[in-house]
């Protein structure tokens, strides 16, 4: 009998040891102070920027020998889901990046943003480009990257065919017709992944110039069955019916669409400036610029393109190392470090006095100051189900549905999700 009891006790002990072993591992992971150095954690989604960030961090640690920075990187599609929990716990993400729009709203209501309003380094950023990180007059996050979510076009091809950047919807159609006559697909549209959520912005920017349009949609003041959205869907239908976008566009992913532009099979890529470096990588002879279709007459056009100030840097209000975290953001916002980041990642930044060195960045830098762009409207949809409904209506139309029917189906979902 004694033997039996001792075996039961041993089994229970083994289970307890396993469980306590798990607990020990979790504690050691969350430990952040190592010797005389304070370790801060930088959480973001830009895995492709790891190499240059490693270099910048090495420089930072050289200047600040008492601070060590470790990075935690999640893929962008998992970032929204994972970041929230990590940030609340406080041990990960002393410095973190946030998307604008619904994630910023959610994190803001969870109270994880430290107010950066009084910090000197805020003045290192272009004040016109950082309003998206503000709430109730407080600067909660500082957008770092500046992306233009509008088609990239093959500039050399346009010049060769004597084409000019169109200033109206009729000019845009004439341009597409010329490209088709020359055996070139006007627009490579990655409908299987990011195409609808990127291209919708430039397609609607002048059809609905009111920047509050999606706020009004969510509050019930506006409807997707109203002219601004039905017209946008009709414009998408026209692109599909006239062959301005490639056949089977909803089955094409971004890699395949990029390949079409890199091989000069297509003239425009309906994604954004963040793909320019990759396109140059695929075909170094390409000369690229940006253009957004103007879907109205020239006199009615209010915007020339779309911008998104994103990768919003913030300090976690739950962190115990806020001062060190702020030092790191200050370091990232210094023009020489920002220039290094910009040139090695092929991104425009919201930081002032950045020295762009690569051809594609230099050639398109005029979009920052000289062109009237509008903040990406999609990011102003704060309800994910409403956003899905809006995007689904585009897919519906490209799949052959009537624009008004697609708008009605999407509006039904918007109504179901009204808060």
């Amino acid at each position: 009998m004694k033997k039996k009891y001792s075996s039961v006790v041993l089994t229970l002990l083994a289970v307890l040891l396993i469980l306590s072993g798990c607990a020990g591992e979790s504690t050691s992971n969350s430990s952040s102070e190592g010797g005389s150095k304070t370790q801060i954690n930088f959480m973001h989604w830009r895995g492709e920027d790891k190499a240059v960030l490693d270099e910048i961090i090495a420089e930072f640690e050289k200047e600040n020998p008492d601070i060590a920075v470790e990075m935690t990187i999640y893929p962008s599609d998992q970032y929204m889901a994972t970041a929230q929990r990590m940030l609340q716990e406080g041990s990960t993400g002393d410095v973190f990046a946030s998307f604008p729009g619904s994630q910023f709203e959610s994190l803001q209501s969870a109270g994880v943003f430290e107010d950066l309003s009084g910090e000197a380094f805020v003045s290192n950023f272009d004040e016109n480009l950082i309003s998206v990180g503000q709430q109730d007059g407080k600067q909660l996050a500082l957008p770092y990257q500046l992306v233009f979510n509008m088609p990239i076009y093959n500039k050399a091809m346009f010049e060769e065919l004597g084409l000019e950047v169109p200033k109206s919807w009729s000019e845009f159609q004439a341009l597409c017709d010329t490209l088709l006559e020359n055996g070139i697909t006007p627009i490579a549209f990655p409908g299987a992944d990011i195409g609808p959520n990127q291209f919708m912005n430039s397609m609607m920017m002048n059809n609905a110039p009111d920047e509050e349009i999606f706020a009004k949609l969510q509050s019930g003041e506006e409807q997707l069955t109203n002219e601004w959205w039905v017209k946008t869907l009709e414009d998408f239908q026209l692109l599909e019916q006239k062959g301005y976008i490639q056949e089977n566009a909803l089955g094409t992913n971004q890699d395949a669409a990029m390949q079409m532009v890199a091989s000069e099979e297509a003239a425009m890529l309906a994604t954004g400036s963040y793909h320019m470096a990759s396109l140059i990588g695929l075909n170094p002879d390409l000369e690229l610029d940006l253009l957004a279709p103007i879907t109205v007459e020239e006199s009615e056009a209010q915007y020339e393109g779309i911008n998104t100030a994103t990768f919003m840097l913030a300090v976690n209000s739950n962190s115990e190392k806020k001062e060190q975290a702020k030092k790191f953001i200050e370091f990232l916002s210094q023009p020489e470090n920002a220039s290094k980041y910009a040139n090695e990642t092929g991104q425009h930044l919201t930081v002032k006095d950045v020295n762009y060195e690569t051809e594609e960045l230099k050639n398109t830098a005029y979009w920052i100051d000289e062109r009237k762009t509008r903040f990406q409207p999609r990011f102003l949809i704060t309800n994910a189900q409403v956003e899905d409904a809006v995007l689904s209506s585009i897919e519906d139309v490209l799949g052959g549905a009537d624009p008004m029917d697609a708008a009605k189906a999407a509006q039904k979902i918007v109504d179901e999700n009204r808060e």
Binding site: N248, T252, Q385, D388, S392
Partner: protein
């Protein structure tokens, strides 16, 4: 023989683990399904049955996702069971060739679902994909499709990928079941002059019922849980045509930050799987025969 009461103590470790990893999360989901918790705020309100009523009366995407899931499940269960059984009958005998073939058919099962999703997304690509190119080469270009981009076709394309991915696993279960059938029953059937079809219908299939029950039940559950494949290949699109319950739960919880509502859908999801599995077990158990 009298069993000592102390033997029940051996259940405790398993029960503790089961409680932590199954009972507690299930009860948590049930609890939160009656709240409007957003997943991270410290406070929330009880909303009674509002989330359940919303799911059935005010959420057309959820209803659509149930329909998509049932469609996906039916295609996968029928096709996967048939394919696995057919291949199991082919590779039943233990020869070098059949052992090699079994390993070959089982191979997709050991791949990660994300790899499978990438491979099949490439195969299905309408312009660069190998499937349309092969159809063109075979003179069957008229069958070429926008496999994942066509809202009417996408769910079937995903179902075929799921069958390719898991049929090998089911084949092994069928092979084990077939090899357990006593050979003398086949000899008797032969002596009695039974045709091959009669032998299959009267001997093989009834005695294979326990294996078939496992295969059908497991395939059904797999079809409902095909989150990774669907998420990586279509993310529920185009136009929600491949949105299944599991991907919709993710959307609602992790993009919409409506954990309370997502929990309610999860509870409904659990009940749907339980009912379908129960009905299948009941239907297939009635086919069981022992000689």
């Amino acid at each position: 023989m009298k069993i000592s009461k102390s033997i029940y103590l051996f259940f405790i470790p398993g029960f503790i683990l089961y409680s932590i990893f199954f009972i507690y999360p299930t009860l948590s989901a049930l609890f939160y399904s009656f709240t409007n918790w957003d997943g991270f705020s410290p406070s929330f309100q009880f909303v009674g049955l509002d989330n359940y009523s919303r799911a059935f009366t005010g959420d057309s995407i959820f209803i659509k996702s149930i329909g998509n899931n049932l469609q996906f499940m039916l295609v996968v269960v029928i096709l996967q069971t048939m394919v696995a059984l057919a291949f199991a009958l082919i590779v039943l005998k233990n020869t070098k060739t059949t052992i090699f073939l079994r390993a070959l058919y089982f191979f997709p099962t050991i791949l990660s679902s994300v790899s499978v999703a990438f491979i099949w997304s490439f195969i299905y690509d309408p312009s660069l994909g190998i499937l349309n190119q092969l159809l063109e080469l075979a003179g069957l270009g008229f069958l070429a499709q926008n496999w994942l981009g066509n809202a009417d076709m996408a769910i079937y394309s995903l179902a075929i990928t799921q069958v390719w991915f898991h049929a090998g696993q089911m084949l092994i279960i069928f092979v084990a079941g077939l090899q357990a059938i006593p050979q003398d029953l086949y000899e008797v059937a032969k002596i009695e002059g039974a045709s091959k079809w009669q032998t299959f219908r009267k001997v093989t299939w009834p005695l294979l019922a326990p294996s078939a029950t496992i295969v059908v039940a497991y395939t059904t559950i797999q079809s409902f849980k095909a989150f990774d494949l669907v998420f990586a290949m279509t993310r529920g699109g185009p136009n929600n045509s491949t949105e299944i319950i599991a991907t919709y739960i993710y959307e609602v919880a992790f993009r919409g930050f409506q954990f309370g509502y997502a929990s309610a859908i999860s509870v409904i999801f659990m009940v749907i799987i339980a009912i379908i599995t129960f009905l299948q077990f009941k239907a297939l158990r009635s086919d069981r025969i022992s000689y």
